[in-house]
Assembly symmetry: C2
Homo-oligomer: 421 residues x 2
C-alpha cells in the first residue's frame, strides 16, 4: 500500500508561472519562428552574448592545474566581492576607504535581493510595531514582489517612474509616493541607471528619502549597459552613499559579462562604520549557511580575474560600450522604421530611454495582437528587452508593431497604469 | 549627517559561528601546521581531491565553442537531474519508470534541504493544528537544525543512532524515538549509508515510520563513499521507495566528484503519481524563483557528462571505489597505530564504521586537549572527517590521540550524549 504522505498535505496547488521559452507547448512559430522580445543580450544570430574576455578567462581557469575545487568561504570569493563593490561605489568612495562598505558573493542578483530582504525582515520589520512597507517600481513588480512576500513582508506597494500617458519619466508621481509613504519604509530602486531620471531628479529623491528615513535597497542588474559608462551608470547609487545613507545594493553580472548561467551576484552593504558592517556580515553569513552554504565559484573567479587585471578590464569596458551603443542603435533604427511605415503616434520615447529594457508604449491589446498573429512575445506592459532585436528580425518587428498599432484603436497614449493592469 | 538607517534596527547581534579554517586568527600552527580533521576528501598533500574525469570534462566544456552561457531553466539542467535521480533510486525503480520521481537541480546539498524544508513548512506544517515536529540525528544537529529553524519550524528534536557508551550503532534508541514521535512528524535521515544500520534494521525503521506516517527526508551527501558501491549505499533510500513512501531526498555531488566549489545538489521528489509530482515541482519552481532564480550550470554540466557517458561513468565508479578503500585503510592503520602505542581502550569501533565521517569516541575534554596542545581540530562530539588523515599526518594524529587519552581520565566509554553536550 502506497504511503501517500503528500496527501496529508492540503491540496498542493500547481502555480501558473508565465515563463515562456522556446519549446513551450503553447508557443507557435511565426515567420521567423517564435520571437521572444524578453531575452537578454544576444548576438546577431540570436545566441546569448558572451563577453570575449570571458571565453579567454574560462579557458585559462580550466587549464590551471594548481586550482582545486575546495569550497569557497560562506560569503564567497573575496577578490570578487572587493572588486565588485569598488566597481559599484567607486574606488575613491569614502565608504570603501573607511572600510564600512563590503560585499557578500551571492547566487545571482536574485540571491542578493533574497538574502538582503530576509535580513530586513528579521532585523528591521520585527523591530517595528506596525509592518514595514516595501515600495517597488511597477515594471519590476512581479519578481521582486515575490521575493519580499516570500520572506514575509505583507505591505508591498507599487510606485511608477514612467508615465504611460505622456510616455516619459514621471518623477513627480514617484516623489508623491515617497512623501506619502510611512517613515522608515523600504524603497527598492531597481536599475536606477535605466529609469531615465536625471541627477537633479535623483537628488530630489534622495532628499525626500533622507528626510523620511526611507531605507534604499538598490538593485543594479547591468551597470554600464545604459550609457556604456560604468561610472555614469552608478551615479544615483554613489550619490546616496555620498549623502551618508546606509543601504543595500544587489549587483548582478549576468548581463554585463554574458555569464547568465554561472549566477554571479554581490550584495553590497554600506554601513555607518566598520563595526556595524561586521555585525551585519556576520548575520548574513548565518543566513547564507542555511540557504546555499557557499556560492558557486567559477563565475566569480572569471569576473574577479577580469576586474583585477587592467588589460582585461579595459577590453571588457570596450565590450560594454559597444553593447550599449548597439542597444541605442537598435532603438534608433526601430523608431526610423516605424516612421517610414507611417505608424500612428510619436515614437520619440523609444530613443529617450536607455538600457536593455525599453517601454514601447504598446497597449496590452496590442501585445496580445503581436502574440497571437505575429508570434512575438513581450511583457504585458509593453516592455521589451532591446537586445533581442537584431538586424535579422528588425524589419519583421517593425512591420508587426505597425500592424498591431494600425489595426487596434489608437496608441498607448491614453491609458493609466491602473487601466493597464 | 550620516543617515544611519541600520541604527533604526534593534541592535544587530554578531553571531559566533565556529567555522575554523586555515588563516583564522585563533588557530595556531602545531608540529605540522594546524591540522583540520574536518576537511573533505583530500590528496596525500592535503589539497582537496578532484576526480580525474572531472578535470578532463572541465577542459572539454571550456573548449566547446558551441556552448553559450544562457540561463538554465529554473529547475536546472534536465540531463543532470534525470541522471542524478536515477543514480539514487536506480534506473529500474518503479517510481522512475512510473514517472512519479523527479529531481530539481539546487545550489548544493544545503540548497536542496533548504528548498525541501521550506516546502514542508508552507504546505505541511500549515495544514496541522499543532506544529509539526522535525527529528534530526544528533551528529548533524547543528547545521540541519539551523535550516529547519530558518524556514520556521519550532519543534525540532534530536535522535541518536550511535551509542556513545557502547561505541556502536544504537538502533533500539532510534526506534524508541520514532515510536514516541507524534504521528506525521518529519524525520531527517542524513547519510543513511554512513550510519552503519543494517538492511534488517532499516526495514524496522521503515515499518515504524510507515505505521506512524512519519515523513522521510533523506539527505545523501556522498553516495558510494561508504562502501565504494553506489547501489549498496542507496539501499535504505530504495527500500523506502519500494515500500511506497512519498519522500524527499537531498543529494549532493561535492564529495563524490571533488567539485565542492561548484555547488551541485539535487532535490529528489518521490510522489504517489505523476500528477502529484507535477504539482509539487510547480510549487518548488516558485520557491526557487524567489531564492536564486536558477542554479549555476558548470558543475551540473560536468556531472551530467560523466553520468551519461558509459566510459566516463566507469572511470568515475573506479575512482569512488579507490577513495572508499583509502578511507577504510586509513581507519585500519589508525587503529593499528593506537594498538601499538598501547592507547587505553578498545578501538574496534573505528573500523566498524564506514564512510567519510567517523566517531573516534574521544571525549570533549580529549578533543579540547588535541586542540590546545596538538593543534588538531575536530568536532566536539569526537567525529572526524577520515579523508583529512593521510600518510603524512597519520603518525602525528595517532600519537596525539594516544597522549590525549592517556593524559585524561579513561576513555569515552562511559558518557551519554547528554553528558557530552
Amino acid at each position: 500500500p502506497a504511503l501517500c504522505l503528500f496527501h496529508q498535505f492540503p491540496r498542493i496547488r500547481p502555480c501558473g508561472l508565465a515563463i515562456r521559452r522556446d519549446g513551450d507547448a503553447h508557443v507557435t512559430p511565426g515567420q521567423l519562428g517564435p520571437l521572444f522580445l524578453l531575452a537578454d543580450c544576444q548576438t546577431e544570430t540570436g545566441k546569448a552574448w558572451v563577453c570575449p574576455t570571458v571565453r579567454q578567462t574560462l579557458l585559462q581557469i580550466a587549464n590551471d592545474p594548481t586550482l582545486d575545487h575546495e569550497y569557497l568561504p560562506v560569503l564567497g570569493f573575496p577578490e570578487f566581492t572587493r572588486a565588485a563593490t569598488e566597481l559599484a561605489l567607486g574606488r575613491e568612495s569614502r565608504a570603501v576607504i573607511e572600510n564600512r562598505a563590503g560585499g557578500i558573493h551571492t547566487v545571482g542578483g536574485t540571491g542578493a535581493v533574497r538574502i538582503g530582504a530576509e535580513f530586513l525582515w528579521r532585523w528591521y520589520n520585527t523591530s517595528s510595531p506596525t509592518p514595514i512597507a516595501v515600495y517597488i517600481a511597477f515594471p519590476q513588480w512581479g519578481n521582486l514582489r515575490c521575493i519580499f512576500q516570500d520572506v514575509g513582508f505583507t505591505e508591498i506597494q507599487p510606485y511608477h517612474y514612467w508615465d504611460t500617458v505622456r510616455l516619459a519619466v514621471a518623477v513627480e508621481g514617484f516623489l508623491e509616493v515617497l512623501e506619502s509613504a510611512p517613515d522608515c519604509s523600504i524603497v527598492v530602486l531597481h536599475a536606477p541607471e535605466e529609469t531615465g531620471l536625471t541627477p537633479k531628479q535623483w537628488e530630489k529623491v534622495a532628499r525626500v528619502m533622507g528626510r523620511k528615513r526611507l531605507f534604499p535597497f538598490f538593485d543594479v542588474p547591468a551597470q554600464g549597459l545604459a550609457s556604456g559608462d560604468l561610472d555614469r551608470d552608478a551615479w544615483a547609487l554613489r550619490h546616496f552613499v555620498a549623502q551618508g545613507f546606509e543601504l543595500f545594493c544587489a549587483q548582478s553580472f549576468s548581463k554585463t559579462f554574458g555569464l547568465y548561467d554561472e549566477r554571479v551576484g554581490n550584495l553590497i552593504v554600506v554601513a555607518r562604520d566598520n563595526e556595524t558592517l561586521v555585525r551585519i556580515r556576520s548575520q548574513l553569513q548565518k543566513q547564507v549557511m542555511g540557504t546555499w552554504a557557499t556560492p558557486a565559484s567559477l563565475g566569480a573567479r572569471v569576473i574577479a580575474t577580469v576586474l583585477n587585471n587592467p588589460a582585461l578590464l579595459n577590453k571588457w569596458k570596450q565590450s560594454l560600450r559597444m553593447l550599449a551603443e548597439k542597444i541605442m542603435l537598435i532603438l534608433e533604427k526601430l523608431k526610423e522604421k516605424l516612421r517610414i511605415l507611417g505608424t500612428p503616434g510619436c515614437w520619440d520615447h523609444l530613443t529617450a530611454q536607455s538600457g536593455t529594457r525599453s517601454f514601447t508604449g504598446l497597449l496590452s491589446s496590442q501585445v496580445a495582437f503581436l502574440e497571437k498573429h505575429k508570434h512575438i512575445y513581450l511583457l504585458g506592459n509593453g516592455q521589451v528587452s532591446v537586445c533581442s532585436i537584431n538586424s535579422h528580425n528588425l524589419d519583421y518587428v517593425a512591420q508587426s508593431i505597425n500592424e498591431a498599432v494600425s489595426s487596434t484603436e489608437g496608441r498607448a497614449q491614453g491609458l493609466s497604469w491602473a487601466e493597464m493592469e
